[in-house]
């Protein structure tokens, strides 16, 4: 009996190893290919990557910087992953993020004077709600008339982005030359990590990082242990069987896309509250889109999103040091990112490369 249990454990470990292994191997292969590119370009790959590592994890301040950059990617990665689990491709996380940021920038000023915990709670909830609302219309269009969410969420991204552009240059513009909103009062911002815990005293990392990790666990739990997540996954896998089990495909679609939007909205909220303290046109460097890559690398597993986001955060925070110390252009990081995504997407290729040729699962009749 014990042997059987052990074997079962072994089988489960094998499955886990494959789920973790493929993304991990993809990352390694991406690094290897990037090394060759660096070498061909006439630089020293070893120096480049050690500088990259140093830039990302070399000191408390740098680790904090990596955490800071990973934070929005965790939110958007979770957003995209949740959508994927329900069979939806929320390509418009960027727009929901902008709307969440807008809500925070506006409310942070309006609510000035309230006690900080209350203020922060309201802003987080409201930002998530606005993100959800921005996903709601595409969701409704999908559920009612079958309009594809890739098109509609993308369109809503443009609307959201340019709405923000206009607001920060016009109606919500703070005094001065720069198109940006007014600086948020202290009680409307997220505390830095070192203000709450005693580590990385000179880093910019903020509480959003902790919130994101907690949310990742919550999303994982929702997907696994609640009817809400169960229905989302059921619809994502097999809408016909879901229908037959009394699950409303359209209601589930709407709920899932709104939850996805709420998570993306939080990325905007925490960027505004934790990093910039205000909203301006360029406050997101495409976090919503990078979130797609994060979700892909994490194979849509919420816990995996934490690690995938930290990896992408590290690439971004270390690239500066790489340029400075090894002369390798920091843009090269984008090549590495693209390679990782390519290799994860071409999972079969990665399997083949490590010599694990396995035939696809066959349908047993």
């Amino acid at each position: 009996m014990a042997g059987k249990e052990a074997k079962r454990m072994g089988d489960r470990l094998a499955v886990a190893a494959e789920n973790v292994g493929i993304p991990f191997i993809s990352v390694l292969i991406a690094i290897a290919i990037a090394s060759v590119i660096i070498w061909i370009a006439g630089f020293d790959p070893v120096a480049a990557f050690s500088a990259l590592w140093k830039g990302a994890f070399g000191s408390g301040r740098q680790i904090g910087e990596t955490m800071l950059r990973a934070t929005p990617l965790m939110f958007t990665g979770l957003a995209v992953a949740y959508g994927f689990r329900a069979g939806l491709f929320n390509i418009g996380a960027e727009g929901q993020l902008f709307m969440g940021g807008l809500a925070a920038a506006y409310l942070g000023i309006v609510l000035a004077g309230l006690p900080a915990p209350l203020n922060i709670a309201i802003m987080l909830v409201a930002g998530a709600a606005v993100g959800a609302a921005w996903a709601f219309i595409p969701a409704l269009l999908k559920a009612k008339v079958g309009a594809h969410e890739v098109i509609t969420t993308m369109m809503f991204t443009y609307i959201g982005r340019y709405l923000v552009s206009w607001l920060v240059t016009g109606p919500l513009k703070a005094e001065g030359q720069i198109p940006q909103t007014e600086k948020l009062p202290l009680e409307s911002t997220l505390p830095r990590l070192h203000e709450v815990f005693a580590f990385f005293p000179d880093s910019r990392a903020h509480m959003g990082f902790i919130i994101a990790i907690v949310l990742a666990v919550v999303v994982w739990w929702i997907l696994k242990y609640t009817t809400l997540g169960f229905e989302a996954r059921a619809v994502g896998f097999n809408p016909w069987a879901s229908e037959n089990s009394g699950i409303s495909v359209s209601a589930t679609t709407v709920k899932a896309l709104c939850i996805s939007g709420a998570l993306a909205g939080l990325a905007g909220v925490t960027e505004v509250m934790g990093v910039h303290g205000r909203l301006f046109d360029q406050f997101s460097s495409g976090f919503g889109f990078t979130g797609i890559a994060v979700a892909l690398l994490a194979k849509n597993n919420p816990i995996g999103v934490i690690f995938a986001a930290i990896l992408f955060g590290a690439l971004s925070s270390g690239s500066g040091t790489m340029q400075l110390e090894a002369d390798v252009p920091s843009k090269l990081i984008f090549i590495i990112q693209a390679l990782i995504i390519f290799l994860v997407a071409a999972e079969q290729l990665a399997k083949w490369i490590v010599g694990r040729t396995r035939k696809g699962v066959t349908e047993s009749a």
Binding site: K7, R8, D11, R12, A14, V15, Y225, T226, T227, L228, F230, E231, R233, A234, F237, N238, W240, A241, S242, E243, N244, S245, G246, I247, S248, K359, V361, T362, E363, S364, A365
Partner: protein, 520 residues
């Protein structure tokens, strides 16, 4: 001794926690029909998937025409003259018969398909083997029997000399089975050999030269079909005697459970599929709907379940109007549904067994409270149902897709019957089950009947209809064309009405009624 065409030696295939094939050897001579028989999960499909290159075995050898071969993909199997027709067809529905057959190796010049040549080639093989089919018909317009014929033609067009048929008769009506057997016989006359997987013992006896019986991944017996009978085969398969006809008490009809009144339903293409159907099912009664597939049964069941909106008419459950109820309300009102297609509506293949076991009950206590699962209750229920229904699986945590076809069906049955419904709608409930499992499911259905549940059975299997039903409704082109009481009609009588016979034309001879079947 005939020259063997294909030989499998000591094939071993292991899945996580399952020894699916345990040193299995099988030889197949030219012009021979071998039936592969065995309980659900015995490893029949696995063995054939190894031969067809879909799975790679841990150990063992495959010989074709006496030569060692290493089959890594279906393409290689096809090149070696091996063809396989899966139980779940792999046709492209919107395309024509001809396009499906030549797909991938179409005769072409500079990338332009030579349609006349393709048509000639298709007609040639279809005539050679007596597999008549309209090359220009669209797949989705064809009845299942003809779709299967297209699958066979596809394999032949690719030069198959060995044909593997995995449960080909599970979806066919008796008439279509007879036609298939004629085709198979003409194939072996041309020197092809056929491996035939089935759970129907009389079919084995009537078509196969030799029977190989598997149990728990190993071959446990082999016999010439002339030397055995159904009881003997059943004993070899399950290791005990099997009761083929269940005993049932006379019906004691209580209150009306289900009332269907002048129901009209359209199908996807907006054509009338159910055309004014009325009937009732009462407590403690099994009402069977017999009919060739595609005569409106699916749409009828779906509209009762709330999966499809009826055009007009009424559905009442214990007097309550549920005509426009959605599936969730229908389930809550006490209706269970075993769908005809387990892969499409019956289960989520990517879910594990615990998740599949609560589909439809996943919002309810005791499985969920305030939207959160009670994992302990779910695990216990799943374990109990796996035990009760003898689902062969290494654990409750494996994905639905890894179960054998029959075991998937058992999961669906365990869930739907486990709900303790007022009304059970069972469409092809024993599709793909072995004889032992059929015996069990039939007795479970009769238990429900004894408890005063209403049962609506939709089945192509006349044997099943005859042994379970208290009343038989024959459905043809969306209408109930005839009603029989239990034991009143012979299979031929029912078959006559199923294929378009009517009381006024009771003299129409059989050849004409055949023609009607084809046209759907």
């Amino acid at each position: 001794m005939q020259q063997s065409l294909v030989e499998l030696r000591e094939i071993t295939k292991v899945f996580p926690g399952v020894l699916a094939n345990d040193r299995v050897s099988l030889t197949l001579g030219a012009g021979e029909i071998v039936a592969l028989l065995g309980e659900n999960g015995a490893g029949k499909t696995t063995l054939m998937n190894v031969l067809y290159g879909l799975l790679s075995a841990e150990s063992g050898e495959i010989l074709v025409d006496g030569e060692h071969v290493d089959i890594k993909s279906p393409q290689q199997a096809i090149d070696l003259g091996i063809g396989m027709v899966h139980q779940h067809f792999m046709l492209v529905e919107p395309l024509t018969v001809m396009e499906n057959i030549v797909m991938g190796i179409e005769p072409s010049k500079f990338g332009v398909i030579n349609y006349p040549a393709a048509r000639r080639a298709v007609l040639e093989i279809s005539q050679k083997y007596g597999l008549e089919v309209d090359p220009d018909a669209k797949i989705h317009d064809l009845p299942v029997g003809l779709q299967q014929r297209v699958e066979i033609l596809k394999a032949l067009y690719r030069g198959a000399r060995t044909l593997i048929l995995d449960e080909p008769t599970a979806v066919l009506t008796p008439q279509e089975v007879r036609e298939l057997f004629a085709v198979v016989r003409s194939l072996v006359n041309e020197g092809l050999s056929v491996v035939f997987i089935t759970h129907k013992l009389d079919e084995v006896l009537s078509i196969a030269d030799r029977v190989v019986v598997m149990r728990d991944g190993a071959v446990v017996g082999e016999t010439r079909s002339a030397d055995t009978d159904t009881a003997g085969l059943a004993r070899m398969m399950v290791g005990r005697d099997v009761v083929f006809r269940v005993e049932k008490d006379p019906v004691s009809c209580g209150d009306t459970v289900l009332e269907v009144d002048e129901l009209r339903v359209r199908d996807e293409r907006k054509l009338t599929a159910v055309d004014g159907v009325s009937f009732t099912v009462c407590e403690g009664e099994v009402v069977a709907i017999a009919g060739v597939s595609g005569n409106g049964q699916t749409e009828l069941v779906e509209s009762i379940m709330g999966l499809r909106r009826p055009e007009s008419g009424h559905v009442r459950l214990r007097g309550k109007d549920i005509t426009h109820a959605r599936a969730r309300q229908t389930i809550a009102a006490g209706v269970s549904h075993v769908p005809e297609d387990r892969h499409r509506r019956g289960m989520v293949l990517e879910f594990d067994l615990t998740e599949n076991m609560i589909l439809g009950d996943h919002r309810r206590r005791p499985f969920a409270k305030w939207g959160v699962f009670d994992q302990k209750v779910i695990n216990e229920t799943t374990a109990k149902r796996i035990e009760d229904y003898d689902v062969r699986t290494p654990s409750a945590r494996v994905l639905g897709s890894t179960l054998s076809g029959g075991n998937q069906q058992k999961v669906v049955l365990a869930r739907e019957l486990g709900r303790d419904p007022e009304l059970l709608i069972a469409a092809q409930p024993t599709r793909g089950l072995d004889v032992g499992a059929i015996e069990f499911v039939h007795s479970r259905i009769l238990d429900e009947r004894r408890e005063g549940k209403g049962i609506l059975l939709v089945s192509l299997e006349l044997e099943e209809v005859q042994s379970l039903a208290d009343r038989i409704l024959v459905m043809y082109k969306g209408r109930i064309v005839k009603e029989f009481a239990a034991g009143e009609a012979s299979d031929e009588d029912i078959g006559f009405y199923m294929t378009g016979g009517s009381d006024s034309s009771a003299t129409v001879d059989e050849t004409e009624s055949k023609g009607v079947t084809r046209g759907r």
